[in-house]
Every structure is written in structure tokens, then in C-alpha cells.
Subunit: 337 residues, 2 copies
């Protein structure tokens, strides 16, 4: 397992020059640079990241903390972040906080702070003020994806506006009897995304003087079965809504399946709209408001990379709004009659 010294010897230069040649920092004549690269390749030499990190203080590694991995949204964020990072020569280490409070504390205390990462991406997770302060003290950039965090740079869609857009689409089609399947109080999700979406929904209804019907506002858990159960309840009776706005595509898909099982046709008998633009939304013909999680992952990386740049101005803890778009497919139409 050859070290820099071996490369230096074979290339007939000093270790310092090898370091410069390989890292691209510092002046090296083209000739020696090529020679060094040649020798390195030949020897299969790769710098030891720990030695390099110890000397420079940079790990070239970022941590991503999230509540789930196996929800489409999170997977997509991770994929986006990962591939952006790969392009920069950075690694991504994963902290999946499925396990609750205990695991969470352990991650923050023992892992993130262990100088293992240069920066942190927190997805749908709100670090406590203490955690934020800790990170700041260590001068580790942190960026939140999914909701504003006080004192932290964040990337987030305007949840209220997204919900309003979805609801307005239904209203625009002529629906007035609209139900909402929102999120419940998942402890895992720190941001109050469920209630923001509900707020947008209600705002849109009130704007057209169609006050929300309490019985038509259900809470569920962002899963297909959850959406199914809620829709069954909404559509099972005689006095049913003509449209459903679900706070996620997975719930919307569950609702579509429930409608079908109840002998209802979508969109003839009931229109359904979701949020996300899940990979299966197109397959199901689901009208939805697209957010672009993969791009969100990439953007988070871009922001971190500029903040990691030593000549970067003091980072301002602002929230950057993210784009979203209504994607109309075949699950929504004018109400019958």
C-alpha cells in the first residue's frame, strides 16, 4: 500500500510536489505534473483521506439526516444530493433517523460532531437550537430542506401556496364540495407541513366563499393505505365530496384505488389531486403539484459547496423558495351534473 513518499521517489520529486501535482493546488510544471500522475496511476495510489483530512481540516464528506429512506420523496432528495456530491468529489454519509428520539440524539451527539462531515443537509427535520448552535460553533454549514429553520439556511416550497394551487385547480373546475386528506401528527416530521397544507386548502376555499366542511378534513399518514382508508370514509356515504385534495401523491393514489373499489370512477365521480409528482403519478394519471426533490437535493449541495468555499461571505440564514408546478393529468375534471 504505497504512500505519497513512494510516488515521490519514483517520480523523482519530493512528496510536497506530489501533493501539489495531485491536488492541483500550487504551481507544478506540466511535465512533472504528468509524470507524477503517471506514477500514481501506475501504483494505484490514492491519497489517504484521513491523512489529508487531518492536514487540511476538510473531510470532503457531507452528512444527510432524514426521517425515512423508503419514501419516494426522501429517496429522490438523497439521489439528487448524492449525484451532485459525486461530481464534486464528495461523499455522502447517511443518517436515517427512523429510530426516534434516542437514535436522533445519538446521531447528533456522536456522529455529526465527530468531524466526520464538512457540512450537513437536514431533510424535513428541524435541528434543535442547541444542535444548530453546536454546528455553528464547529463552523459546519448546515442547510435545511423542507421547511424554514430559525438560524439556518433553508430550501423549501411554500407549502401554503402549493396547497392553495391544488385546491384552486379543483375550484377552477367548478368543484365546491372538496375534501382534504392531510397529514397527521407524525412525530418524525418536524416541520408543520401537514398544517401548512391544510391552511392553504382552507384559504383557497374561503376565498371563494366555500367554507371547509370539518367532516371532510381527514388526517392520515402519507401512505397509500392511509389515503385509501381516508378516502373510503369520505366516499363511502351518500353525501360525498366531488373532489379530494390529498397532501401527498401516495395518499392520493390510495384514494384513487379506494374510489375504484367503491365503484366510483375517477374523475367522473370524484376528482383527486395530490402533491409531489411521485414516480407513479403519471402511471395513475394523477393530477398533482410537482415539487422536485431530486433537484432540491442538488440545490442543497450547491449551496453547501459555496458555503464551504473559504472565501465565501458570511452565510445569511435565509429561506430560499423552491419552484413547484401544477401537473394536470386525468384524475381531475369538472364535477358531474
Amino acid at each position: 500500500m504505497s504512500g505519497i513518499e513512494e510516488v515521490a521517489r519514483r517520480a523523482g520529486v519530493s512528496p510536497a510536489t506530489v501533493s501539489r501535482a495531485l491536488s492541483g493546488r500550487g504551481a507544478v510544471s506540466p511535465t512533472t505534473r504528468d509524470r507524477v500522475h503517471g506514477v500514481a496511476r501506475e501504483l494505484g495510489y490514492v491519497v489517504s483521506s484521513s491523512a489529508s483530512a487531518l492536514a487540511t481540516g476538510r473531510m470532503r464528506n457531507v452528512g444527510i439526516v432524514l426521517p425515512f429512506l423508503n419514501r419516494w420523496f426522501y429517496g429522490a432528495v438523497v439521489e439528487g444530493a448524492q449525484s451532485a456530491l459525486l461530481g464534486q468529489g464528495y461523499d455522502l454519509t447517511l443518517y436515517n433517523l427512523g429510530g426516534g428520539e434516542e437514535e436522533r440524539r445519538s446521531v447528533f451527539e456522536h456522529f455529526l460532531l465527530r468531524k466526520r462531515v464538512d457540512a450537513v443537509i437536514a431533510v424535513s427535520l428541524e435541528p434543535t437550537p442547541g444542535e444548530v448552535q453546536r454546528l455553528h460553533e464547529l463552523r459546519k454549514p448546515i442547510i435545511g430542506v423542507g421547511g424554514p429553520v430559525p438560524g439556518v439556511r433553508t430550501l423549501s416550497i411554500d407549502e401554503v401556496a402549493v396547497a392553495r394551487l391544488a385546491t384552486e385547480h379543483l375550484l377552477g373546475l367548478g368543484h365546491r364540495r372538496i375534501a382534504h386528506i392531510g397529514g397527521g401528527h407524525t412525530r418524525e416530521l418536524d416541520f408543520n407541513l401537514p398544517s401548512s397544507r391544510r391552511t392553504g386548502f382552507e384559504q383557497a376555499l374561503r376565498a371563494v366563499d366555500a367554507p371547509p366542511v370539518p367532516e371532510w378534513e381527514l388526517r392520515s399518514d402519507f401512505t397509500v393505505p392511509g389515503g385509501y382508508a381516508a378516502a373510503e370514509q369520505l366516499l363511502g356515504g351518500a353525501d360525498r365530496p366531488t373532489a379530494i385534495f390529498a397532501a401527498s401523491d401516495e395518499m392520493a393514489i390510495g384514494a384513487m384505488l379506494a374510489a375504484r373499489d367503491l365503484g366510483l370512477q375517477v374523475p367522473r365521480d370524484v376528482s383527486i389531486v395530490g402533491i409531489d409528482d411521485h414516480e407513479l403519478a403519471e402511471f395513475f394519471g394523477l393530477t398533482t403539484v410537482a415539487q422536485y426533490p431530486e433537484r432540491q437535493g442538488r440545490m442543497a449541495v450547491d449551496v453547501l459547496m459555496t458555503e464551504l468555499d473559504p472565501r465565501h461571505p458570511v452565510p445569511d440564514a435565509v429561506d430560499t423558495p423552491l419552484p413547484f408546478d401544477l401537473v394536470v393529468r386525468s384524475s381531475t375534471a369538472r364535477p358531474a351534473g
Copy 2:
């Protein structure tokens, strides 16, 4: 940002003692151990992983390489591995090889070998002999999940047996007209899982003298839409099979949806069985052969941990078979008539 020296000073001991006290290696009197821990906590001191890694040669980090992240199976493997690792004080760094040949080479060349990881878990991915050799030279344990790899310790289910089990379930119910939706030649999956499953299917059929019908063996891509399209084709005509065995639950779910859209009832008109026990399998009442990806991730970690133990015997490159079980739900029944 205080270092070990500061802790040593405040605790009135030498850095060496602090190191011993904090790492638990080497004898330290209970009194000083507690004192050191106290000071460390007070100062918020955490060892620098790079310094520690440089001194010990251990990163306490394992890499996981996989072709996708956003397929249920892979997400589950990662979750299992991650949580097992967390318990051991290890991190997990993710190498998602979505991007094809180029990205793959780059990961193996520049990342895994950069001494960033102590070991690697390769999921459904077959390292080339060159890559395996490289890893061996660096004495980095590697374990494959998902199929035997020459020269590498692996964990895998017996794909042929799994497929046979699924098929035999249908045969046992009395089906003889059975179709198979298998995997295509996805470049991303290195193991010939698709063909192994097909082989098991055909073996089971031949064993009861019900030779497979070529037109009833379709290839698809492991997705819901893919399964839907294949099933549409199988079930669209008059001369249709009475049962379908899909090589993954996602395809099986697609097939169930297609059947319904064609006005067919499952299982009355057609029985459908999958493989995986996807998180939605229960919701859809899908009969399937469960494999336990999360447990597979955990097991991979267990194996690596013992191999990382310095007093471990030379690892034997064997393949450990993994358990699987038939889970009968409501998508299969005796054929009509």
C-alpha cells in the same frame, strides 16, 4: 474547538490516558475514567475521526454500493445496514450507481479506495475481478448481497428455489396455465437474478409436466407500470393464463391493476404471485415470497463486523443462503371451473 490536550490538562492527566479513557481500550482507573468523561462532556469534546483514523487505520465507516435507492428493496437493505451500523458506532456512506459505467468506475477508483471506508457492502452489484482484487489488496472486507460473487463472501437467497416455491404454490392450487413476468436485461443489475427466477419457474412447471408456454414468458423492468403493461398483454386476449408469477412485487401489483382494468377479478379470474413482500403487498392482498431485505442489510453488517475484528480467521469466500417464505394472501386461489 478543544483537542485531546485540553481535556488532558483539565483532567490533570496525559493525553494518552484521555485516549484510553474515552476509547475504552487500555486500563484506566474508574476514578480517572469518570473524571475524563466528565471533562470531555463539559467541553463538548469529540475525537477527531481523521486523526483517530490516521493513527489506527480504522475509519469506522462502511460504504454501500447499489444500483438504485428508490426501489423498496434497496431502501430496506440500506435501512437495515444503517441501523445495525449505528449500533456499532459506524457510519454508512452511500454510493448510488444510478449513473452508469462512468460513474461506477469513478466510485470504485476514487472513492472506495480512498481509505474512506473500512469495508464495503455491494448490493445486487458484481464487482469486477479487478475491483475485487483491489479491495483484497487493501484488505478491505467486502460482502455481496443479492448473488454469489466469485472470490467474495456473499449473502443471497436461492433465486431458483424462490421462483420454484412461488410457481409450486400456483401449481398446488391447480393452475397449469401459468405465465411469468420476469426481469429484462437491466444493465444495472449485475446478478442474473431475472434468469434465475425464470429457471425456477420453468423447473417447477416441467416437474409436473406442464411445459412453459413461450408466449407467456414476458420480460419487464421490475416496476409497477412495467408489470401492468406485461399483464395487459397476457390477459388481453381470449386464450389467457389462469395465473401469473411476477418476478417482483412491484410488477405483480402492476399486474393486479391491469387485471382489474381489464374487468378481471383477482383471484377469481386470475391468480397473481410476486416476490419480495413489498411494503404494499399486504395492502394489495398480494401473495408473495418474502425475502427480508432489512434483515439482509443487518446480516451484511454483522458479517463485516466479525471480519473487521483483527483476531478473525481468514475469511472464506462462501455464499450464505438467506431465508425466504411463501406468504399467502388473497391474490391467489384455485382456478375457476
